[in-house]
Amino acid sequence: MTEPLLAARPADTEPEPEPDAAEVSGLWTDAWRQLRRRPLFWVASVIILVLLVMAFFPSLFTSIDPRATDLAGSGSEPGPDAIFGRDLQGHDVFARAVYGAGPTLAVGVLATLGTVLVGALAGLLGGFRGGWQDSLLSRFAEIFAGLPFVLGGIVILTTFNPPGQPVPESRLIFQVVTTITVLSWPIAMRIMRAATITAKQQDYVKAARALGAGPLRIVFRHILPNTLAPVLVYATIQLGAFIGAEATLSFLGIGLKDPVVSWGVMIAESQDRVAQIPHAILFPAGFLVVTVLAFVMLGDAVRDALDPRGR
C-alpha cells in the first residue's frame, strides 16, 4: 500500500536538506533505491497496474456486455463461447470479472485508505498527546469497535438507502466505503496508538525535544517513520478483508447490487451452487486472491525497504 507513505510526504519532504542531486540520501530515497532492486515489488506493481487499467478501461479487455444474459447457456462450462464459462443467469463470467474490477478495487482501496488514514491519524494524535485527548479518542473508538460489523452495516446502509429505491452506482460505492471505514477504523487506531506510544518513549525523541524540535517535526520525522510498518501490514491484509466485507454486504442485499458488478457480488451470487457451477465462483475468487496477494507483496516490499536494518 502506498497511502500512508503519501500521508507522510507533505510534512516530510519540505524540510529535507538539498545536497547535490547525486548525493541525496535519507529514508525515503534510500527506500526507493532499495525497492527498485526488488523483483517482488515489480511483480506486485505490474499486477496492480493491470488491475487499475482493467478498473478504468474494462472495454480494453473484453467486448462482451457483462449484463447480457444467455439463459440457454446458464451454467455452461468454460469454452470458446465464454472463456470462463457462464453463471446461473447466463452472464459471461470473464466479462463480469473484468467489469467487476472497478467497483471491487474502488471499495477495497478506498475503504483501506479511509480506515488507515482515519485510524492512523487518531492513533497518532491519541498516542502522542496522551492524557484526556487520548482517553476521549480511545473511548470514542471503543463505541465503534463495539458495534458488530454486519449489524452496523445493516443499520447504516438501510438508513441511507431505504429498500426498493434505485441508487446511483457512485453513491452506493461511497456509502459502502464509508460504512466499512466507520466500522473498522478503531483497529487501525489501536495499532497506530500502540506503536506511537512505544516510539514516543524512545530516547531519540527525547534528544530531538532537547534540540528544540516542535511537535510536528517529532511526529512526522521521528515517530511516523517508526510506526508505519505495523499499519502497512494491517492495511495490506485488510484490503482483502474489505473486499470480502463488501461481498457480505452485497449478499445481504444492502451493499453493491445489480446492475453494479463486483467480485464480491459475483461470489455472493454463486455460492449456493458451488458444486454445480464451480467456475462461476472460482474465477472471481481467483481474481480476488491475486489482487490481495499483489497488495500484500507490495506492502511487504515497502515495509522492508523502510527498515534500514534489513538492507
Binding site: G26, L27, Y204, K206, A207, A210, L211, R217, P225
Partner: protein, 335 residues
C-alpha cells in the same frame, strides 16, 4: 571563581502516583528530586553520582526543560531557566545540550547519521547556511573520531561506542556551553568507556565546555570531574572537589560508594576496609523520616530519625556533607 553558568536552587520534582481510570486520584508522590542545589561554572565538570533511582536522570531532564519542575529555581547565565518560552527557549537550547545514556535508543534507527547529526541545523537554521551543513556534519564526525565518509550510513551499522560518538556529535553541533551527560558510558564496554571519556575531556578542552556529568559509579567520573556531588534518594548528601570527595569523603554513603570501586592491584585487595550497604534504597514515594540514608547507615543514631541533617561543613571536615556524624574516613575505621 567565575560566575556560575548554571545555578540550581532547591529544585524539586515530584511525580504524582495516581489510581483509578475515570476518576483519577493522587494517592502520593514519588519524590524523584527533592531539593537539589548546585552550581556549574563555565568550563568545569561537575559529577553527579548516585545509585539507580536516586533522581539523577530526572534532574537532567528537568534541567533540559524536558519535564517541568515541581518547584525550585534555576538560572542559566543569570536568566531564569524555567521562565523561558517560545523563541527564547529555542535559542537557549543551542547553549545547553544533552548526551543520553543508551546509544541504542538515542539515535533514530530510520535516519542516516548525516540526518541525525544534521538535525540540529534543521531546527536552528540560523546556525549554518543550508549549503554549508553537509560540510559541518562531516567536520563534527571527524571531531568525534568517526569517518566523515560514513555520513550515509544508518545507526545499526555502528558499534555502541561509535553510536555514542554520534550522539556526542549531535550534542556538539550547536556549539553549546553546557552539555549534560546522562550516564554516557554506562551502556558501553569497559574498554570503550575510556575512549569516550577521553573524547569528552578532549572536547572540553577544545570547546571550553562545561559538563554536568551524571554517573552511578564514582570510579568512572574520577579523572574527568573537577567537583562531585553525591546524590541519595533525590537529595545531594555530599559535595566537594574531586580531591575532597575521593580522599576525604565524610558522608558514610560516599564512603560506602568509594569502597565499592574495584581495586586494580590484587596485592592491595582486602586491605582496604569495605563498607557494605545492607538492604535496598527505600522507595522515593515514602522516604524515611529525618535523614534519608539512616535505614542503611552504619552510623545511624536516634537523632537521624528526627532531624534531617543539613548539607553543611562540619567540624573536622573541609566540605559540605549532609550527615550529623560527618567525619573523614580514618575516623570511621576507629569507630
Amino acid at each position: 571563581m567565575s560566575e556560575p553558568i548554571l545555578q540550581v536552587r532547591d529544585l524539586v520534582k515530584h511525580f504524582p502516583v495516581t489510581r483509578g481510570v475515570v476518576f483519577r486520584r493522587t494517592i502520593g508522590h514519588v519524590r524523584a528530586v527533592d531539593g537539589v542545589s548546585l552550581d556549574l561554572h563555565p568550563g568545569e565538570t561537575l559529577g553527579v553520582v548516585g545509585e539507580s533511582g536516586c533522581g539523577k536522570s530526572t534532574l537532567a531532564q528537568v534541567l533540559m526543560r524536558l519535564t517541568p519542575p515541581t518547584s525550585g529555581t534555576a538560572t542559566f547565565e543569570g536568566q531564569d531557566l524555567f521562565a523561558k518560552r517560545g523563541a527564547d527557549l529555542t535559542a537557549w537550547r543551542r547553549d545547553m545540550q544533552i548526551v543520553l545514556q543508551d546509544p541504542y535508543t538515542s539515535l533514530n534507527p530510520r535516519k542516516t547519521v548525516g540526518d541525525v547529526v544534521g538535525e540540529p541545523f534543521d531546527i536552528h537554521p540560523e546556525v549554518a547556511p543550508k549549503g554549508d551543513r553537509r560540510r559541518r556534519v562531516q567536520e563534527l564526525l571527524e571531531v568525534v573520531g568517526l569517518n566523515p565518509e560514513h555520513i550515509r550510513r544508518y545507526p545499526h551499522q555502528f558499534s555502541g561506542g561509535q553510536r555514542q560518538r554520534i550522539g556526542i556529535a549531535r550534542a556538539l553541533a550547536l556549539r553549546p556551553k553546557v552539555i549534560v551527560c546522562d550516564e554516557p558510558v554506562s551502556a558501553l564496554d569497559v574498554s570503550i568507556q575510556a575512549q569516550v571519556l577521553n573524547l569528552l575531556s578532549d572536547l572540553q578542552r577544545e570547546f571550553g565546555l562545561a559538563y554536568l556529568f551524571i554517573a552511578h559509579d564514582l570510579g568512572v567520573v574520577r579523572h574527568l570531574c573537577d567537583r562531585v556531588a553525591v546524590m541519595y534518594l533525590g537529595s545531594i548528601v555530599e559535595t566537594g572537589t574531586a580531591e575532597e570527595i575521593y580522599t576525604r569523603a565524610s558522608h558514610p554513603y560516599t564512603q560506602a560508594l568509594l569502597s565499592s570501586v574495584p581495586v586494580p592491584d590484587p596485592s592491595l585487595r582486602g586491605r582496604r576496609e569495605a563498607i557494605r550497604l545492607e538492604g535496598d534504597v527505600p522507595s522515593p514515594a515514602d522516604p524515611p523520616s529525618g535523614c534519608r540514608f539512616r535505614t542503611r547507615c552504619p552510623k545511624a543514631a536516634p537523632v537521624c530519625a528526627e532531624d534531617p541533617p543539613a548539607l553543611e561543613v562540619r567540624d573536622g571536615t573541609d566540605h559540605p556533607a549532609a550527615c550529623h556524624f560527618a567525619a573523614p574516613p580514618h575516623l570511621v575505621r576507629a569507630d
